[in-house]
Symmetry: C2
Subunit: 320 residues, 2 copies
Amino acid sequence: MSAVSAYRGKEDIRTVAMIGCGLIGGMWAAYFLHCGLDVRAWDPAPDGERQLAGFVDSGLHDLEAVGSSSRPRGRLIWCSSIEEAVAGADYVQENAPEKVPLKQSLLAGIDAALPADVVIGSSTSSFPASLLQAQCGSPERVIVAHPFNPPHLVPLVELVGGERGAPVAIDAAYGFFESIGKVPVRIAREAVGHLANRMSAALWREAVNIVAEGIASVEDVDRAIRHGPGLRWAVEGPHMLYHLGGGEGGLEAYLEHLGPAQEARWATLGTPLLDAETKRKLIEGMRAEVAGRSMSELKWRRDRLLIGILRLLADDEAAK
Amino acid sequence: MSAVSAYRGKEDIRTVAMIGCGLIGGMWAAYFLHCGLDVRAWDPAPDGERQLAGFVDSGLHDLEAVGSSSRPRGRLIWCSSIEEAVAGADYVQENAPEKVPLKQSLLAGIDAALPADVVIGSSTSSFPASLLQAQCGSPERVIVAHPFNPPHLVPLVELVGGERGAPVAIDAAYGFFESIGKVPVRIAREAVGHLANRMSAALWREAVNIVAEGIASVEDVDRAIRHGPGLRWAVEGPHMLYHLGGGEGGLEAYLEHLGPAQEARWATLGTPLLDAETKRKLIEGMRAEVAGRSMSELKWRRDRLLIGILRLLADDEAAK
């Protein structure tokens, strides 16, 4: 094992290999193509190529609605093996199903086939980088690069190197994702669920508790968030929200005056389990909220509104 | 005590009394005026009238940016006593500082001065309705009507009657708030922080934990939310987010396949305390995130983007 001093980054990456082209890999592929990168794709599914074409079409359509790219669209190349896909790749994104042995063996194979200065990112939402690196000859260039669903629209990419990932490999990935309009975030210590899914889980735990305890319905919990704090979380994070809740003194004043009240509130939060009765309440409540709308109708609404918000935020940024 | 069979609601409410006109009361006043309601306002502060005028100007300016009202703007009447303010009011909103004895005594005074069919809503973010009703002769019409900051822009209004609040009083308030474009949510059981602040507290607790444990910085936590799940929470609540995370099978499939993984993730969430070291990390991290921007600059950015998102959501609703 020999770490390299610099990895291929934003200046050098022209071709990305996608290993695993389900929903996540497919939407990643659309994003990279939209940014002018060539994509070499592989997936073991019998109809993988056709399925990928569908994801890419749909993703590119959404991305054109967000805004046109300054670079001509990249080429999509379907490959019949992992070796063929990674040949000539300057960056690799792995999106296999969430199974440790499968990912470990795939990543080891990818690692063995690649030049030493190519970073390999895993889309895993569950596993620490250290676990995924276990069978790799060059673990220092195998990192977590986790998107938030839907990956072609949501800008966040969480980067984790774990104990063995090289800081320069994270640097290279950070610069690359930033250069193509994503928002990379560097995670200093491995934690289950990285950042966004930990916080999402914390919010949902209390949302489940509220339903389990009969405080409010599934639908009313969802309405309270999307017509309430959810609007603010789209424009500022939770720490900034409390900073602006502290008056002129900001977060410091908030902690001073309302810190004890917040600790008292934390002590009342629930720790529900997903037992049969709670699951029943959640499923029945969701049925009422869905009110007959199809899954594709719900996703279409979500993506249409996400596109609108992304355009708004981009316009606001551009007007600075 | 004699409960009435119906309270003044959307058809009857022309004049609102605002008791307490700080930031919350002032922004409530702007909203009611924008919707064509007359507002009779009282606040004990020596410069209360001038301060209110400032809040109302600023709030009306924001509200015009969201969209013009179909009704001519209401009249703002400054009153020199509570009795004068509530005289002729069809609905009362109380926004005194968060102190139980103060609110109890104010609410008892308002209650004693009003006809029996006028609902009294408290903006309290901390206290259960039952506690606030304690000294009132007609506790059944004293309810919590809690907005989320900033109250003129965020549509959510949480309604809680507690054990003594009359369901018909909640009905009347629900219909009234809905008729003026707010999103009322009915809370079946009293809970500290109602709904939105409980869930906001749950999210923030893990956000604090992530900083305390050195997993990521204050700024990166905020970036992860606003460029990640925060975008989704502006268009769908946490339950719907997991419904769309379950594939074609929705929430039921999610609970079946990923419920155990979610429970395992919940078990790893932190329970930090706001001790001196954690406060120091939060304050230093916030200083880095703020990067010299003033409080008014941060609020201006927040409100500008909130206005944009509200317009977008309203246009989308109108296009249906």
